[in-house]
Symmetry: C2
Subunit: 329 residues, 2 copies
């Protein structure tokens, strides 16, 4: 059942049917009614592939997601999807699992016009590739940006977030503070580490490099980091974690070793995922405005969708430090 069949049934040309489908006003009301009833009766749906081939548009966007294994992304994607829906775009998610081959394969969908645009929540492409891609195709970055690339993006000020958090700890008398992070999402990790270092510099406080531990974001990585820290000469009294999962792993291990988290030692996570309130102790965390990040990302993309040559915008949204039991509240 295609547009031609409908045309035959109606005794009209395909052009007229197409006009009806696309709400073209140049169709007689009576004709429109008849066509619509036939379409209805036969459950006809225009073939989107044919349409895409002709219009060079798909009305779909692609979200490049590094991993499903993180609650953090949930509301970002909701934000994207809600805004996209407003503009009549369907949102498709591709999970890359930090595998560049997969990234490239999915980005081909963009290059081949199978989707009209792409929002990357993380990718491993180098700046030149990113610049090249985004100059030709609507492409924006959200939360993670490529350092050195000139692309529309929306992030929070990761550096200042950790600077402020660490400075707070220092002000409250902590002399030995650890920083646990992954070693993959270059932009956010480096910014956060930089904030951690700057807080020490500004306070004229010596920073032992052993206190900076970088692996990955599994619970075990947080636990392993604590095991390592416990072997140091001076056990830290505060730990800044680059994710809530690391904080959970760390706290879990600390409790096993009878540390009183929130008393003997303070721990803060990152992203303020919902588990933080239900862990024991409840976990302090640096919150990102996830839903808004998603919304803004789509807004940026939409500008590129309308005009690929529109200027690249960089948006910074506010973060929020939320204290709970794990930092003594």
């Amino acid at each position: 059942m295609n547009i031609k069949d409908i045309a035959e049934i109606c005794g009209l040309s395909v052009a007229t049917i197409s006009r009806v489908i696309n709400n073209d006003p140049r169709v007689a009301d009576s004709t429109r009614k008849k066509v619509l009833s036939v379409i209805e009766k036969h459950n006809f749906m225009p073939n989107i592939t044919g349409r895409s081939l002709r219009t060079q548009k798909s009305n779909k966007i692609l979200v490049l997601l590094p991993t499903m294994d993180n609650q953090f992304y949930t509301s970002i994607i909701e934000g994207i999807q809600d805004k996209a829906e407003e503009k009549n775009y369907a949102t498709l998610v591709a999970v890359t699992n930090l595998d560049q081959t997969k990234e490239l394969k999915y980005l081909d969908m963009l290059k081949m016009n199978h989707v009209d645009g792409c929002i990357s929540l993380f990718n491993t492409l180098d700046p030149e590739k990113i610049n090249q891609l985004s100059s030709k195709f609507p492409f924006v970055q959200c939360c993670e940006k490529t350092i050195g690339a000139d692309v529309s993006n929306v992030v929070i000020d990761n550096e200042t977030a950790v600077f402020e958090t660490t400075s707070e700890f220092i002000k409250n008398g902590h002399k030995t503070i650890a920083f646990i992070s992954g070693d993959y999402y270059k932009y956010s990790e480096r910014s956060r580490e930089a904030g951690f270092r700057r807080a020490h510099q500004q306070a004229d406080m010596f920073l032992d490099e052993k206190l900076i531990i970088k692996h990955f974001y599994k619970y075990t990585d947080g636990a392993d980091a604590v095991k390592y820290l416990m072997h140091l000469e001076k056990m830290p009294t505060a730990i800044v974690c680059a994710s809530d999962s690391l904080a959970i792993g760390a706290i879990s291990e600390l409790k096993k070793n009878d540390y009183k988290v929130g008393k003997d030692i303070f721990v803060i996570g990152f992203d303020n995922t919902s588990i933080t309130e239900f862990y024991n102790p409840s976990i302090s965390s640096i919150a990102q405005p996830r839903y808004e990040l998603g919304q803004e990302a789509f807004n940026l993309l939409h500008q590129k969708l309308i005009n690929i040559h529109s200027t690249n915008k960089k948006i910074i949204l506010p973060y929020k430090i939320i204290h709970r039991e794990s930092t003594g509240y």
Copy 2:
């Protein structure tokens, strides 16, 4: 830059270029080499929309995901994706957020041949619609199936899993056992509840209906359930939860009220997500073979991809009850 341009540059017909692209052996080696070098040089990529329109195939499959807000789905999708990749299919994920309008919109992609097949991790369509859809398009269900529909699917034996778990509790002397569940994923929830009831029947144990609490799967739902249970005349000594999130919410609330979980009261979750090992106490859980569920789902889909009229298969994979501190281990 399209196939025609390449043909012109090479001084060949588009047919020959197409043959090279598709590894058709009927091309002279020298010609193939020349064409490949030109393709390489110009970074040519065949337009997949044109190809799809012609072949009526997209080499893409769609995964219908009810929510991103659940670690449970992570490895299922990995399983799907890995198997799909083997067969040269790209995997796209669509998040429906339990919204039927969205489900239908994404399923249109299937009907319009924009994807070749679909694996549903949950949907709200009624049996007739599902039967109709799956008779025409490759469509299988994974983890959640539609009761009354005849579609290929792969699940675990939810009924027996909870029956066995509950029976264990009863055997160990528990007289008052609660069951906390959501009230949305009809198939799994009803099966689990049925298993809970059957365990009572088989043990000739009275079951107070107040002990069955059904809301949703947020942490708060687990906490709320416990608040309610604490008001009952007889506080249960064991709680079977239909998800790990409910177990976490429940345990969190129990601890707030000074219950010793794993001693005063036993709690078991469902799905064995990774947090269970890092919560305090560690949480017992009923494990589903998530990665294998995903793999089998794709296998089932692939049979339909090859032959839409192949018989519908129903696969049941084994579950595993894993005891940790929350049930006294």
